[in-house]
Each structure stands twice: as C-alpha cells, then as structure tokens.
Point group: none
Chain length 206, copies 4
C-alpha cells in the first residue's frame, strides 16, 4: 500500500538502518539506501525524522542499548540472599548480554562497534556509550564484590580489576567474533573456572 502509518514506516527505517549500518557504517549509509531498501523514496524520510543524526540516536536507543534494566532488580534481590550462587548469577548476566543483542549477533556487533568508532567525533554518542558502560561496570562490580564477600570469588585480584577483566573478555569475544564468526561465544564463561574458588566449581563449559 502507498500510505502506511507513520509508526510502521518509522520502525522499518530503524530496522533497515540497523541492518545496513552493520555493513557500511552509519556515515557511509545514505538516506537513499535506507529508504530504497524499504520501498520508499528519499524525500519521505523527513516525515519521520528531523535529520539523519536523529535517526542514529533512535537506532542507538532502540537497537543498540544492551540495557540491563529489566534484569537488574531480580539480580539484586537474588544477590541479597545468604545462599546465593554468584557464579550462576554471573553466567545468567553473560547470557543475557548475548541474547539481548538479538538473533543476529554479528549484525549487532558491527553496528555497535561502528558506533564506538563514531563516538570519536560525536559528543552525544560518546556520552551515551560512556553512560552505557558505566551502568554495566557498576552492575558487574556489585556482583563481583558480593561474590568476594561470600568467599565464592577469589580475592587475590581486587574487585575493580576483576570487573574490568570480565567486561574486557566479553567485548573481546565480540571482536574475535567479528574477525572469525565461527568462534564459540560461550567460551567466555571459562574465565569463571578460574575466577571462582575451586569447591564452587562443579560446572564444566557448554
């Protein structure tokens, strides 16, 4: 049909952009590319967005945010229990990160790291990414700290460093994955074999 609802077209534009920016990056993506890919003409883009930049922000908010909001509360409640299994919690979080990026993890990864690169020249994007990372960092640190308090996580390395290592290995696997999509992403959890003290350690990779 020639006339769709605004909401639908807007969603299509965001979806298409997310897909396409994984390949070419946001800058190299033309509005014509986007609109043609959804069967519309260039001019009508501006019915839905004030500018290309606004589109980027929308894509960030709706497609690239590895938000943990929904999960966070449950986790915090779980953590406060005396007998909580911190390793199980941590692995749940890692899984969530994977699955939250949607079915097409590679697409997500390229789009996301495009954004990281883009942040160098766009303050707004940079702040958004920093805040994103802060949230994750704080969230993870809380878990690690609790693990150490409960004697489940080793204490030979300090809390912040362990947190950084966890984050680094997750994003590092993103990068390896982009270079070689055959990599088994679940390997990430092996670091837990070392991080957690032995008697806590019955699990042996998936």
């Amino acid at each position: 049909m020639k006339y769709s609802t605004g909401k639908e077209t807007k969603r299509k534009i965001i979806d298409a952009t997310f897909q396409l920016m994984a390949d070419k990056g946001f800058d190299a993506l033309s509005i014509d590319d986007i609109m043609t890919s959804i069967g519309r003409t260039k001019g009508s883009f501006y019915v839905h967005f004030k500018s290309k930049e606004e589109l980027l922000y929308e894509v960030m908010r709706t497609r690239l945010d590895r938000g943990h909001g929904q999960m966070a509360e449950e986790i915090l409640k779980e953590l406060s229990k005396d007998n909580c299994n911190v390793r199980a919690i941590l692995e749940r979080v890692t899984d969530e990160i994977h699955s939250s990026s949607g079915q097409n993890r590679l697409t997500w990864a390229f789009a996301f790291y495009h954004l990281l690169i883009h942040s160098r020249k766009n303050e707004f994007v940079r702040e958004w990414l920093e805040s994103n990372e802060d949230q994750w960092s704080n969230f993870l640190r809380m878990i690690v700290k609790r693990g150490q308090e409960l004697g489940q996580i080793r204490t030979d390395v300090d809390t912040q460093t362990i947190t950084n290592m966890c984050m680094a290995i997750v994003v590092g696997y993103d990068i390896l994955f982009m270079l070689n999509p055959q990599i088994d992403f679940s390997e990430v959890n092996h670091i837990h074999d070392w991080m957690f003290v032995n008697d806590q350690n019955p699990k042996n990779e998936g």
Copy 2:
C-alpha cells in the same frame, strides 16, 4: 620504519593519515584534509598514490600491522629450552603488543578498529585482518601449548580456548580503553595469575 619507498612526502601522507583517521575514520577523511595537514595541495596526492584505497592499504601495512615477525624467532628459540619461563615470555609478548602500537595507543586503537569495521565492506581489508589474527592466534597457541606441556599453565581448559581468552582480553582492554582512557592497561596481565599454576606465580603487582 617499514616504508617501501624512500619518498619523504609519501611517508608524510601515510603518517598524517594514520593520525587523522583515528579521529574521523578513514572514510570521513578527505584527501584535502590529509594534504593540507602536511602543507601540500590536493592534486599532488596522486603523484604518490593511485587512489585513496591504495593509501589505506599502505597505512595498514606500515602503521597498523601488529607484526610479531622480529620477535617471533627469539621467542621460539626461548620456548624450546627445557627450563623456559612461559609466563615471562607471555608477558613479554603482551608488552610488545602494547608498545608496538606506538606512543599514542589511543590513536592506534581507533585507527585499528576503524579498519576492523571497514573490513565488513572491503574484502581485501577483511583478508588482511584475518591473516593478521591467524598469525597471532597461531603464535600465541604455540606458547600456551608449551606452557601446558611444561605444567606451567593449567590444563582444565583446552589450549585453543585459553589462547582465545588471552586474545580476547587483550583486544577487550583496547575497547575499554577507548571508552575510558584512564583504564590501567597493565591489568591485562592479571589473567596470568589465574592461568598459570600457583607455584609459578610470584608476581602480584596492581
């Protein structure tokens, strides 16, 4: 320096491009930007390069290659000794990676990950990166394997996975570093505290 020609201007172009592409990325960089920054005019670019793409390849070869060639031979010789200290070797390799990126690590990181992103749409770049990664992967695996043979590295996780983890944590710290340049890059080595078996583990700095 590994410049293939002795031409001074050509070298200047490559250096300037490497510096500038960290900020804006290669695509967003215009030939005018580059040539102006070295006090020349646009037209003379084509005296030195057939195209902008060729320039990218030249930058890759001379500035973004985390080559390990020089070091590799020495390492292999060292590894073959009966009493070699694998942890020391590994840390030397990690240090080399850091320092090989030059004084300005952040510049290097942005430029390199620009390239990674760029690889999605450029076969040549993709192959170059894959080959780059293969070399490193093979090299590291050799070291890890030797460490396991000698009983210095734990064997509860298989060789390839440990290799991947080492690589992931190195590139992961690159990414964290891009998000937050205050991060202490030497933390990377803490994974060795866990990876190596205890009596091998005298080092404890932060």
Copy 3:
C-alpha cells in the same frame, strides 16, 4: 476587510503570509511555515488555495493594494470646488497612504517591496504593480494639475514631473524607513513647503 470568501481559515492564511513574508520574503516562505503558524497542517493548505502562487495574488489583492478607491470620489468632489485647499487635500492623501498600510508600516513595506522585486520574474505581478502605480499616478496628477490651475502650486516645473517627485519622495521614504526605522515619516510633507506658493504656506509642523 476585503476578503472574497467568508472562510475563516483562508483569511488566517492570508494574514499569516502577509506577516511572514515581510521577514523572509514570499519565496523563502514555506507552506509549512504558514500553516504551522496558524495551527494547521500543510496538507490542508490546498483546500483553500490551488497553489502557492494563487496565495500570493490573494495577498496582493487584500493586503498590499494601496487602493484609493474609497477616497477618490470625495477628493474629486472637493477638487471641483472653487475655493478648495489643494495642499490640505494632498496631505490628506499622503496620510491615507501611510495609514492604509496598516499598523505595521515596516511589515507592509518589506512585503510590498518584496513584491516589486518579485515582479521581475512574474508578469502577472508586474502588471498588477504597474496598474497600481498608474492609478496613483493619474490620481495625483489630477490633484497637482488642479493646484497649478488655481495658482496654489508653483508652475516652474511641469505637472508630470511634480507628480513624479511626489511619488518618488513617498516611496523613497519607505526605503529610508526600511534602512532606518527611526526616520520620521511625516517629513515627507515638507516638500509641500516648497511646492506650494508662499502665501499658501502657513503650516510648519514636524
């Protein structure tokens, strides 16, 4: 009001256009600007006008016409009297010109001279302006001629030239006014001090 239809929205559109075109000119004015300013949306513009051009003509007719029709008859009757005071009549006409442009003289002036400029590329506008000017010219010439016949206006310069001078000084003050809105528009009448013969010249206001 001289709006041809009773339609409220149509009137609003015309008014808004008149106001807005003083700032940006008619060409630079978008239909979106106009409709937004009256709290309607772009699409409904075409319920009221066939095209943007038609709107211009409507604005011309209803807001930019310095028509003298109403006044003309009275003046003619007055002029035919033996003892008529031509200077008083002329000043009444001048005042009428000022006040006919509405409260916001500056708005009127910019809009009108926009139109004059526009006339260069639009035959219809040009003809309208020419006819407008002809009417005024004829009307004024009649007054001047009568003044000369009665010995009230000097005869050292011929009728048509005096008429032109009167018109020029009126529109000239429009222009000075646009450049410097502090100018005292009533100065225009000082030319009468010279134009009329001395014993006719008791008036001296500023």
Copy 4:
C-alpha cells in the same frame, strides 16, 4: 579553454551573479544557474568561493557598493572654497550616483533592492547597507549644511530633513524606474529648483 585562471573565473561568477540576481533575486538563484551561465559545472563553484553566502558578500562589495570614496575628497576641497557653487556640486554627486551603477541601471536597481529585502534576514547584509546609507547620509548632510551656511540653500527646513528628502527622492526614482523604465531619471534634479534660493537658480534644463 578548459582551465582558466582562478581570478578570471571568479570574476565571471560575480558578474553572472550580479546579472542574474536582478531577475530572480539571490535566493532564487541556484549555483547551477550561475555556473551553467558561464559554461562551467556546479562543482567548480567551490574552488572559488567557500559558500554561496560568501559570493553574495563579494557581489555586494564589488558590484553593489555605491561608493563615493574617490569623489569625496575633491568635493570636500571644493566645498571649503569661499565661492563654491553648492548646487553644481550636488548635481555632480547625483550624476555620480547614476553613473556609478554602471551601464545597466535597471539591473543594478533590481539587484540592489533585492539586497535590501534580503537584509531583513541577514544581519551582515543589514549592517553593510546601514553603513552604506550612513556614509551617504553624512556626506550629503555636509553639502547641504554648507549650502545653508552660504545662503544658497533655503533654511526654512532643517538640514537633516533636507538631506533625507534628497536621499528619498533619489531612491524613490530608483523605485519608479523599476516600475516604469521610461521615466526620466534626471528629473531628480528638479527638487533643486525649490531647494536653492531664487537668485541662485538660473538653471532650468530637463
């Protein structure tokens, strides 16, 4: 020839713009229009100007400035003489205004009044016009004042007002001329017949 000197092309662009903006106005003029009219393509415009706006300023400076600088000094010297003929001086100034607008007075007038209109939305243009007008106003006032001091110009109207009237009538004739190019522009000088006291008034040409 395909490659001209920059100076020549720049001049051609300015000339063409001056000609074309009389018809369509500066805004309605596209860079494509301009460049096509001089046998070049749109892209090369930016070799010569940073932006379309910069072109406007250049046209203003080189084509629309009714500068009086050259003449001013001579006039001032003349004025200081005891027996100077102020009317002759004033008529020389008026003539200069006419001729300084070049051969094609109508073109000049439309371009100039386009600019005046444009000033409403461009601060820089507005200031330029104001300063332009100030210079003229000051210059003319000096002449009028001297004329009054010497008893050559009537004193029943104050200096500033006479100055304004002179300016108004000059620009007013510009406008009449735009409406009707047949008008005899030299009529402007007839106001001098009234402005100067009688015994000074031997001149009577049309």
